[in-house]
């Protein structure tokens, strides 16, 4: 056995497939010029012609209440403070936060709903979302989402990676792997986080991690402030030329290392250094909003000037979409209203309502809504019964995985429709259930992928975003 064989790493040994595929993916990301590689093959490529090229996913972390925003239940008013019937709950498990409660009194929403014209016979939406309601003819509201998890962490992991266990690749990294980027100067997958008004849960970076995929596919977090990407700027006294020379040398050494051990992560590293170098130019241009006109800024609301706000992130999301970034993930935190919901939710909706509507409209007039899927979702829903004391004007709501509402727009999704129904208590789904896997499969379909064929060999089996589940929900496609 010669030296070379001895030096093969364990990683190489177990991840033979990964080296090839990772290398190919990298080529397309970098452009062959940088690595001196000859035939550049795009990443896996789409299986058929897509209706969408990118995704903007607004995740409302903490889980907004479907009962107070989307799932209109006027009939509940006459059950105020009555016990949730066992025929509805059917012994379903509850979280530790309310399982000890003596009573489960029904808490109808205190908010008024209006019925807005859409492309069917209208959609009822809460007074808390007047701007979002103006998207009624563009949005597809799904009232019959359900999930398997009942606590934030596993539910978030499920929504973002397709399974409750940690360690899988996130949706955005799958897109980076499958499509590469339409802009060689920016990462394919960008994440932005805004802090909400209410109770905040931990938000782990693995929600945008790449799991078993080569690590250049992980999401890149854009921060608020003057240093959007940490350690991107050259330190004092280092010029861009110096940086280039340094990189050339390091890349040489890394490439030698790669030729020795074929570890795809070495190439990931080269690609990330190069990406960072190009981002030194592209990121400042991206985050500088001085070229936006007043009318546009006005649309997003005055918060747009506050860096790190949801509104500011929405505007950045549009700028990223415009620049070809594939997967733009916004987190807005603070929706976990176990008590004092009617007051706290107002703080949340006022932070997101105007900006998210502006984002959709801004994309639309630029022709970008046609091929961008907008997804607005929390990780689960909230309970119809009050957690803690119910009064006429106040209540809390516990986690509820059996039904909740999400909305989509653009990218080949049928506009102006409502899909799925829940029972009178917004507790169980009565029509057209949609699982998280179904949602993923449907979005992948719009992006040009058969979800059963977008896979990656890992630990002895083919891994997929939808694992072994998921059906494309055809009725919500255009």
């Amino acid at each position: 056995m010669d030296d070379h064989d001895l030096l093969l790493t364990r990683r190489h040994f177990f991840g033979l497939g990964a080296a090839g595929i990772g290398g190919l993916a990298l080529d397309s990301l970098l452009g062959p010029d940088l690595l001196g590689l000859k035939d550049s093959v795009p990443t896996t490529g789409t299986h058929f012609r897509p209706t969408a090229k990118r995704v903007i996913y607004m995740h409302m972390e903490g889980a907004p209440s479907q009962l107070d925003l989307f799932d209109y239940k006027p009939g509940l008013q006459k059950y105020f403070n009555q016990e949730l019937p066992e025929s509805v709950r059917q012994g379903q498990r509850l979280t530790g936060m309310t399982s000890g409660q003596e009573r489960f009194p029904v808490a109808p929403s205190v908010f008024k709903f209006n019925k807005y014209a859409n492309n069917q016979d209208g959609v009822w939406l809460s007074e808390l979302l007047p701007h979002t309601a103006s998207l009624a003819k563009d949005m597809c509201l799904i009232r019959s989402m359900h999930t398997d998890a009942i606590n934030h962490e596993p539910a978030l992991t499920f929504f973002h990676t397709g399974t409750q266990q940690v360690g899988r690749a996130s949706f955005g990294s799958w897109m980076s792997y499958g499509l590469g980027n339409a802009n060689a100067n920016l990462p394919a997958f960008v994440v932005m986080i805004s802090q909400g008004a209410g109770n905040m849960q931990a938000l782990a970076a693995r929600m945008w991690g790449s799991g078993f995929l080569p690590s250049e596919h992980q999401g890149c977090k854009l921060r608020a402030g003057d240093d959007p990407v940490l350690y991107l700027n050259n330190p004092k006294g280092v010029s861009r030329d110096d940086r280039r020379k340094l990189l050339d040398l390091t890349n040489d050494l890394n490439e030698k290392e790669y030729q020795r051990n074929f570890d795809p992560e070495v190439r990931s590293r080269i690609s990330q250094y190069e990406m960072a170098y190009r981002m030194q130019m592209s990121v400042p241009e991206l985050t500088d909003i001085s070229d936006e006109d007043d009318e546009t800024l006005e649309m997003y609301g005055k918060d747009v000037h506050t860096q790190g706000s949801f509104a500011s992130n929405c505007l950045r999301a549009r700028r990223l979409a415009e620049r070809g970034v594939r997967f733009i993930q916004l987190f807005h935190r603070g929706w976990d209203q176990h008590n004092n919901l009617p007051n706290e939710i107002k703080g949340q909706t006022s932070a997101v309502d105007r900006a998210q509507a502006a984002l959709v409209k801004d994309l639309k007039r630029r022709g970008l809504l046609d091929d961008t899927i907008i997804l607005w979702a929390g990780e689960f829903g909230r309970s119809v019964y009050s957690q803690g004391t119910l009064t006429k004007t106040n209540y809390g709501r516990d986690h509820h995985p059996r039904c909740f509402s999400v909305w989509l727009a653009g990218g080949g999704i049928k506009p102006g429709i409502v899909y799925g129904k829940t029972d009178d208590h917004s507790y169980n789904i009565t029509e057209n259930p949609v699982s998280v896997h179904d949602l993923h499969a449907t979005m992948l379909h719009c992006l040009g992928f058969d979800h059963k064929r977008l896979g990656y060999f890992h630990q002895g089996r083919e891994m997929r975003l939808t694992d072994v589940f998921g059906d494309v929900i055809k009725p919500i496609l255009k």
């Binding site: 058929f48 008013q77 006459k78 060689a184 415009e322």
Partner: protein
């Protein structure tokens, strides 16, 4: 009676194997006997063979009386030769006493029977059934050099003409469907609607029918009719997976030109794994490009471009139009925030989708802050949430009905108090 006849007809596919076997066996027996100078086969066997042949021919003729058979060459000759075989076999039995004539007649009957069998096979299995494996061999040789992709004109239309036009063309439109021109194919039939799902890899009614089991009554072509060969159905499948393109096949774009684009940080992507059509995006270098750079880069691959984004390229103006005009397949074009002017407006009308926000053609578009129509307003009408007597939170256990309305109280005592002077407590509420 007619039912029995029909049954008799349906026995044909089973019966037909008897005379084939018997006549062949007799033929071999007589050939050997003739060479050796032996006497002919026992009369019983000749009579039996003649009976079976006549019976089979009769049942075949009866089967043909049923509706649904398309007259074609194979059917016509299968019938003629089949009847001839029946008659020939009976003649054999009649001529048995004259050995030479009997043997000549037998030779003739075996010959007609082989012909009838061949055309029968063609009807059920298709023309190329036997030689298909050989054709495949030849095809493999030919595809060493990958042929260009399936073309409607070259590959598909001839198959549809040969195998479907009997029932789906100008002369006959079974199921309201014609398959003889692209327009009719797109229009489709009565039950399935458009026969192909243009632009999509799946959801093609045609394909679903072809792939059904032969026994399924919706299978196309119907059972008993000339079927598609494996090769033909593979061709059709491949064509449909490409999204049923009717135009000529598109050759892959020049690799060197694509390399040049990638070197210039331009995004180049085929719109799907199966396609040579391209989506081109100048997002990375939008602010640096101009008409000349773009024209030089794209000219060599202009035929392949279906989607093109020049958004935010402020130096791009009407000078780009000569290039755009030479892109026959361009469907989606973004000129958002470019310097294009109204002078190009007419030319841009040729393209299915053009985005012009932020240009002189479409300088502004109101954002319609709250433009949705409200159809109905909900109201919040809790029965009563506080006890009308004490003002405490109600408990649904203590509910009474007063003047048709439910009123709830906080404890068992309050209803009594309430009944003493309802008006007073209602007023207070």
């Amino acid at each position: 009676m007619s039912l029995l006849l029909e049954l008799f007809g349906r026995l044909h596919p089973m019966l037909l194997h008897l005379p084939i076997g018997m006549l062949c066996a007799l033929g071999i027996y007589e050939f050997r006997a003739w060479r050796k100078g032996d006497p002919p086969a026992p009369r019983f066997w000749v009579l039996l063979a003649a009976g079976c042949a006549a019976f089979t021919a009769g049942s075949g003729w009866q089967l043909h009386q049923e509706p649904g058979y398309v007259e074609n060459f194979a059917l016509e000759w299968h019938e003629r030769l089949g009847i001839a075989t029946g008659i020939g076999a009976i003649l054999c039995a009649m001529l048995y006493s004259n050995v030479t004539r009997y043997r000549k007649m037998l030779l003739l009957s075996v010959a007609t029977m082989l012909g009838a069998g061949h055309f029968g096979g063609t009807m059920t299995h298709g023309e190329d059934f036997i030689f298909e494996p050989l054709q495949k061999l030849a095809a493999n040789d030919a595809t060493q050099e990958p042929a260009s992709r399936v073309s409607y004109e070259r590959d598909i239309a001839p198959v549809l003409k040969a195998k479907c036009s009997k029932c789906h063309s100008a002369s006959k439109q079974k199921g309201g469907l014609r398959l003889d021109t692209p327009e009719w194919i797109r229009k489709g039939g009565e039950d399935d609607g458009p026969a192909v799902n243009v632009g999509h890899p799946d959801g093609h009614p045609i394909l679903e029918r072809i792939l059904l089991d032969l026994e399924d009554e919706d299978h196309m072509p119907p059972e008993g009719k000339r079927q598609l060969t494996q090769q033909e159905s593979d061709l059709i499948t491949e064509w449909l997976q490409l999204g049923a393109p009717f135009g000529p096949p598109l050759a892959a774009a020049d690799a060197a030109a694509i390399q040049r684009l990638r070197d210039s940080l331009v995004h180049v992507q085929t719109i799907s794994a199966e396609s040579n059509e391209l989506y081109i995006d100048f997002a990375a270098t939008a602010t640096d490009i101009n008409n000349q750079i773009v024209t030089e880069l794209l000219m060599p691959i202009k035929d392949n471009i279906v989607e093109l984004s020049l958004a935010r390229a402020i130096q791009i103006d009407d000078g780009i139009m000569p290039l755009i005009a030479q892109m026959p397949r361009l469907e989606i074009l973004s000129l958002v925030n470019t310097s294009i002017t109204a002078a190009s407006e007419a030319a841009l009308k040729e393209i299915a989708t053009v985005h012009l926000f932020g240009t002189a053609i479409q300088p502004e578009q109101p954002s319609d802050a709250l433009a949705t129509e409200i159809l109905d307003e909900g109201e919040i009408k809790l029965a009563n949430t506080e006890c009308p007597v004490t003002g405490e939170m109600i408990d649904p256990k203590y509910t009474i009905v007063y003047q048709g309305e439910e009123i709830q109280f906080c404890c068992p005592n309050c209803p009594k108090t309430f009944w003493e002077d309802p008006e007073k407590y209602l007023g207070a509420k």
